[in-house]
């Protein structure tokens, strides 16, 4: 599964259950984020033992995008058997500020700022 535009790309690797985000995600709201929500929903439905979100190359994410990721984390939280890992980058300042909130939503979430 893959979504690609000139501003951003999202790609799912089923062998590692990793969803990778690259570029700049600043869509205008829930409706525009729907295809990405659908991709993430399909990953959650498979219930792999561990899901990894890799945002190390996601330079920008607006608040509507933060909302989308948070909703996904809350959805995964309901599935007791799924372990959640988020990999971010120390190089990208918004990640240091905002990704920790995902851990507040799901205390078992493993946050790696590499």
């Amino acid at each position: 599964m893959e979504i690609k535009t000139k501003d951003y790309g999202i790609c799912y690797d089923p062998s590692t259950a990793t969803v990778s985000f690259v570029g700049s995600l600043r869509l205008s709201g829930a409706e525009d984020y729907a295809p990405i929500v659908q991709l993430l929903g399909e990953v959650a439905d498979v219930e792999p033992a561990k899901i990894t979100l890799n945002v190390q190359q996601l330079e920008f994410l607006n608040s509507s995008g933060i909302n989308m990721l948070s909703k996904f984390i809350i959805e995964v939280r309901k599935k007791a058997r799924v372990q959640m890992v988020v990999q971010g980058s120390q190089r990208i300042a918004w990640q240091g500020k905002s990704l920790k909130n995902l851990q507040r939503l799901m205390p078992g979430l493993q946050l790696e700022l590499l």
């Binding site: 501003d7 700049s24 600043r26 869509l27 205008s28 709201g29 829930a30 409706e31 920008f60 607006n62 608040s63 509507s64 933060i66 909302n67 948070s70 909703k71 809350i74 959805e75 190089r91 990208i92 300042a93 918004w94 500020k97 905002s98 909130n101 507040r104 939503l105």
Partner: protein, 192 residues
């Protein structure tokens, strides 16, 4: 009518500032959505020249990256809000101003707002100012996740207060009678 809320300070003469203006009627909102990010990135890029990075001192490079990222995020959120809540029946322009002060940055974004929407927005501002933004932020995320039909995330202002520890203020002003035009100026102060 003039009403202010929170940390709103009247602009003082400043040596360094940049203003970008948009006329809402020239191109439909949807088609210029990408302009919000472009304008925000431009403001952020422009500003880095005032916070030079020194290759021999990594802390200056980190600081520059952090300021750039914060300006880009905050300016983009403010512009997105202004475009979303702008009163489309008015041709009052939207503008964003970034001011450089010795101890920080001041963003101010002005847009018109539908007179019918003023009460609800002011109610939301009072709630923001009376709450712990970090708690309200998590509550809002849980609420959004529980409500399938929610369209707006209501997170933009909360992330600025909670993740960027910005100070915020608002000024509402009636700028024209018959037909009534009300503007709101949102001010964000960021220490750097």
């Amino acid at each position: 009518m003039i009403q202010t809320f929170g940390d709103f300070i009247e602009p003082t003469p400043s040596q360094e500032y940049l203003i970008i203006g948009f006329s809402p009627s020239s191109i439909p909102l949807k088609q210029r959505w990408r302009n919000n990010g472009l304008s925000a990135d431009f403001l952020a890029d422009y500003l880095t020249s005032f916070f030079p990075g020194n290759e021999d001192d990594p802390s200056t490079i980190d600081r520059q990256a952090e300021i750039k990222s914060a300006v880009s995020y905050i300016a983009n959120e403010l512009l997105e809000n202004a475009m979303k809540f702008n009163d489309e029946t008015s041709d009052y322009p939207i503008d964003i101003k970034l001011q450089l002060k010795s101890d920080g940055l001041i963003f101010s974004v002005a847009n018109s707002i539908s007179p019918q929407a003023v009460d609800q927005f002011q109610g939301y501002i009072r709630q923001l100012l009376a709450s712990d933004p970090s708690e309200l932020y998590i509550e809002q995320l849980e609420k959004n996740a529980a409500d399938e039909s929610s369209t707006g995330s209501g997170l933009g202002l909360l992330t600025m207060l909670s993740d960027y520890t910005a100070k915020m203020g608002w000024k509402f002003q009636t700028v024209q009678q018959d037909p009534e035009v009300i503007t709101v100026t949102t001010m964000v102060q960021l220490r750097v």
